[in-house]
Subunit: 256 residues, 8 copies
């Protein structure tokens, strides 16, 4: 609540448009930087002010009941685009039965939305994926970035074993403000892209692979040791984190 | 060489100012995207066009002779600010004896410069370090970023064990376009900063620590698993990589 | 059995209230420091004398039948508050059907109780958890500490990504004799708390996370390398161990 | 500076005993919770108030010059018992040449002291070591605990391969408020002690060993998985951390 | 087939008791050191001659059909006590339906027997287990050793957290020719026993535990780094291997 | 499409046999080096020209629908022997219901074929497996090699614990152009074969084993450190990769 | 010694050209498949017959005296091109003083030669290296391959961060029978080459790098998980092994 | 001191041969199961009674002064064959200067002896080593076993890359009561021997190797996963431990 909004509210109280009681509620709400839900959650309400993006619900390890409780409390405050990441199909179905929640569910990236709103898109982020099996992670990054108001171009299945596929798509990367490169197995895609583009590259190792892949460790180490510079990394399968970071970089580029 | 430069050169040939022979040399040079040095190096001359930053010489594992050879070849092409990273004091001393190289050496970040030039600084990058022992890595990041034309503010020795030190310095982070957070041991600094600032944060784990630190692995894993979003990571002790990436992000922010 | 108890029993024998036969049984039982159950268990009956806390049944890897056998034997000796840790919902249901066992089951921390008694609470232990997903481990610590006669204050969902939540709750930590800090992902909570409180801090890494978390390894290494002093660690997800240790420290503080 | 001290100072100003100028300096100093030294350190001056123990200088990775700078600044504030841990013999010799520093050096635990003072000892901590090779770590713990005002009893070379040695020394452990158990190789000492004493046990794995010891990892994992409860762990070779934690536990036991 | 047996067979041929045709079959069979089963197995028939123990069927990763095929072929050669290790309950049930196989199944150690025979027992092996959860592995060792003709004494649930339990059972270990010590978690049992007995000790780490146990790695490293000498180790959960090795050592002790 | 084929097609256009429209389609198809399928795949159509072998579909992590889409698109271009590796029984059954796909499924190596054709076999590859449990991987190698036109001899269940079994089969290895050695557990088979044959040996570690096998890591490290030379390795369980490589080596040996 | 050679020798004995005594020595020598040197070595003299290449002396961990002893014994048998790999400069200097050994030393690949002979070169092997720091390993591969009679083309400093450098050199790879790809850091070079050439590719990870490189582990895992097929791997820094394997593959290609 | 010895001593007291004072000293000494040396060691004097072998001094991590102190104290009690393992050449030279210690030093296995005596040898142990570089570890095992009264046969440099060398030496293994197999690199020797002999096999992995050997981890995992049974393992480079264990097994075989 900006000073102007507060001032306007107080004028409305003065004029009798709004009762002191109701105004007090609104102001109290704004003053609280956090909100307790049950005995299990303590929502960070000022994260948007501090970080530019609202708190997100990490769906893994929480019960459907806990998720519903947190989301409902956030919705009540009219926080838009409440994201629930790593939400399994099973929990999503349970959440559909909670009245008033109106969950929308994206099955590929396993993201649920409550109070979803259209957002204006500014600036371009390219999301590049090495193989079809990397799509759930790539889509988590892409949908996250779109939710935070970025235009996203998807460049999928362009792994380095068939290098020309990537080279054909270079123009799509040329005008991006950030490239998110998603790859499992040996993750070489990141080094190759890092050597070809001017903008920052965020590598997302995925757990796609087997054997001495060790759940994505191979791609992770490969990307960390990239001989290309201008490259940084997020956790294995962390499409969400890449999407948020790309949004932050893009926001600066488009002078938001 | 931009089209305009070529045109101007050709005019000079026409006017007799420059001999065709010398002009041919210059043009040939520009057309070659790479240059062989001895049988051991193949310099990437178009990296600046492609990446916005010239090739850098990684000093580890190369002999002083090889480094001198590569640097001399680059200097001959008048590439400015040729950086030699991870250059030991010993090799730096050997390089000082190579005539015409005019090496400048920064002992804390172990960086050597050949053909160093002043660069205009635009936009601010904050380099934050947890402890005094992390300085070599933090300085590698800071000096790299300065070399690539960024204003750098250093915020050192503000580890989370004395949280108020960091909180006192928050204003210094507030107007940065990027924060580079350098920390060894448990690397918690990155998560705390990631939760407090709006701009992108680049975590640099250092190998400072002992025991179950495993050469920086503890800080690396800690940063990769950060509960704060908008955070990404480079390799352990890779101050250079963080500096380059920060420069790329900042460049977009200042509309270069 | 204290000397007084023995004396009273002997008086009862003298007076004929108790038969020598039955008294001999009781005394024999007390003299044995261990007790065989079936061919699979050898209960340590003197652990309370030696350690100040009775033996606890580790439920994982034991069949319901074995657990029931051990618990029944302990109950027969009137050992109060027999705890069965890491008891799955499935086994708990099987145990409910054992007559005379009267199992009470706490589903969040997966602890079963046999012969549960109220205990007087002395001194305060604070249990702090980073996120909602860490609750099973935090509750295991809290319930264990309560069972051993400590007052517990729960401070949940205060991870460092929203630092103010923790700072608001500092008063709750100020008068604790021990703080148990439970966190997954990067476990930075422990270092931050370790830098803010006077009392001993016990870190409990949890397996909450994914990717390069490696089942809690990231949080474990992070906590072990904490730059804050006065901090020690128990095994990943070992809420029980933290609860016991906190109880021992608290016991000394309140001069039990 | 307690209120009483401030009051007394102001009385001295009133009476002319102390000049307003000098008093202002003293008060200013006290009000600053931190102090910059050079551009490399930011000393946490309120750590004693917050933590009950002053900041300690971690000697590894700092130059002798930096250490001297920090220690001199702290000595100027008359902070007593300034400890420099992990201080090599070589750096200690360099520090001896800094005038006014008056370094005292303990070679076994590699600790330097500046402004060392006698402290009153209250309550007993037992430091137990498995073998002669573990002494540097055990002494680091012991000397730290003594510095913080605890009585320390050393029980050395009592590894479990000759169990009777430990059993003979049990009385020495019986009246301790905390036991610090230091062991390399397989670290079994911690489990055995954990099963025999009532008080809290702090395990310190050491890097003593070879082969599949992996720099102390074997002892670390062994201690973390201890089947005895009431046991917690600090980092490999972290005698200092164990000493601080033990001091904090003991302090509560003796009602400081 | 010993020379005497061959001689006897030939006499029977001479006397007409056995037809040359049938005798030829028997002799051919004996001369083949291996036997193909389907296209998936190549049974080592001379292992008993070479090793003193027949080939054993490792049940994991083989289909019930393959196991039945191999066992039937071995039974046809009248190899006694054909063991199938790591045989799941499900596969055992499938095998019960194979006619003529007459599988006997031990559910705790997951061992199946075909053509089981009584064997004379000579010399004593003690199998010691730290906890009830280690029983499947301990029983695999014990049943294996019994099958190979050794007397086995079981000493179960005597982990070092209650040391007196083990000390009470020392007499049972005193006259053993080998001790097999089975333990999960921190595996300290092996070092304690190794320091108390004269005979060889075989440590078997188990995967019992959680968190930083890493599937038995903690116990494995602990046992490998044992400060007691006269101790060696087999693979995690490899009760079978320990049983075979103990049998070989015991066989030499009793002058088989 | 070879030049001759193009020429023939154009003649057919001239003669009216083929309409210009249809011919244009065919030529267009040939000119595209890649083909988009849905938004999830980008098939590399020139891989055969570049690599000598067509693109293969990695079945893991793709939905049946995605696999069917890719396979159908490839079949439409009349690419023969379209292989789908790591195809589970469940997905194979779903694929059987896709009309026109005519999937053939090999259950042991988990390979599906679309548009399968007979291929002429030239040159010999020996596939050697240590145990029956290694067959799925060995068969993946063997079937792959056969599909690419190589004669394969299988030598199974010849692990080094019964060395004579391998020695008996040496003649089968003597005239092979490549040996693929497949082994789990300790993978010693590779070193032994490597010391006995003249031709290149490709080691395939399998994940067969338990305990400190760590999913095939033991065999992998063992093979990488082989004291025999002329040996190289592919990823754990990567029978397919070994088959392709062997085919490439064999192809050169038979002067294809 | 071929049959013909033996026959010729016997003819010489018959004719008196060679004394029976000397001939007996020669024949005896040939019949011995191994030769004892001191009590520390047992040279495999038939390795050339069996493997097509003579035994090589691994210089690490052997004293100069032991190396000299083995090399002298082999030279005495007139084995040509005795290679001593991983021979440090220091030991090479010691060996120069052994009379009659006539050591030749190649300092970059750290290989010593005794009894070096020119060999005819047939067929081409390409050795590709990512960076100047990888040269010692690349040269070990190249010199080994040359010693075994292969023509070697070196393509150095063509890492993927400047992809065009590699693309320019593709013609050099097109007619090779094998490519050896040597790379440290993230090792992406192998995947890129693997996707571009028809012939077998041998990846050699090097220990070049720092931080989360872990001594070459990053490159090793990256290469093992290569999405390109037709690729296999040798141990980290094992240029020798790659050279031998490439020689074996090439030998088949040129129908030796 | 046996009963008879005590009796004899008392007779001497009675007869005046020995003064009561001196006899008391002797008896007191015998009654103490341990002996303090300085404040750094607590010698286990009854280890021989309990374990059949005296305590051994582990030389690593102890100063020459500490070693001399312990050895002198043990020598004073006339303990024969006091072994100091892992004693560097440097410390051995320092110890030579301690008067009365009369250190004998074996440089290959790095063992020092004080009060060395000839021992009778009974029963045979074979020590087999894969390569010349493994000799220090093999000799540590061999010398240890000889010191404890066993006949040792050395079979060196018989790695599996030249299998016939091992097969030629099989007779030397056939009559051994134990085989100690020492190997680095991939450690395949243990599996091959394990499949060929009847007696127990003790594997000793060595740290010989490079790259993905990880200091002996490759050989360790390989041996732990051996497909041969009757095999167990000691720590990497632990020749001493293998020697002790072999001595214990052999002692039982020869009915000591």
């Amino acid at each position: 609540m900006e000073r102007e909004q507060i001032y306007r509210l107080l004028c409305q109280v003065q004029s009798g448009e709004v009762s002191p009681d109701k105004a007090a509620d609104s102001l109290k709400l704004e003053m609280e930087p956090e909100m307790q839900v049950g005995n299990y959650a303590d929502i960070d309400l000022h994260r948007e002010q501090r970080q530019g993006m609202p708190e997100v619900i990490y769906g893994e390890g929480k019960s459907a009941e806990q998720i519903a409780g947190i989301a409902a409390a956030m919705k009540k405050k009219d926080i838009p685009n409440i994201m629930i990441t790593r939400l399994s199909q099973e929990k999503a179905e349970l959440l559909h039965s909670y009245e008033g929640l109106d969950l929308e569910y994206e099955p590929v990236p396993h993201i649920g939305f409550v109070n979803r709103k259209d957002t204006e898109k500014k600036g371009k982020i390219a999301v590049v994926a090495a193989g079809t099996s990397d799509l759930p992670v790539a889509e988590e990054a892409a949908v996250t970035a779109e939710t935070y108001g970025n235009y996203v171009e998807r460049v999928y299945d362009v792994g380095v074993a068939g290098l020309h596929r990537l080279l054909h798509r270079l123009p799509a990367l040329a005008d991006a403000n950030v490239v998110i490169a998603v790859a499992g197995m040996e993750g070489a895609l990141v080094s190759v892209i890092g050597g070809l583009v001017r903008c920052p590259v965020i590598g997302v190792p995925t757990s796609v692979g087997y054997g001495a892949n060790f759940g994505g460790l191979a791609a992770l180490l490969s990307m960390l040791n990239s001989c290309a510079s201008g490259v940084s990394i997020v956790n294995i399968d962390n499409g969400f984190g890449a999407g948020v970071l790309a949004a932050k970089i893009n926001r600066q580029s488009v002078h938001e």
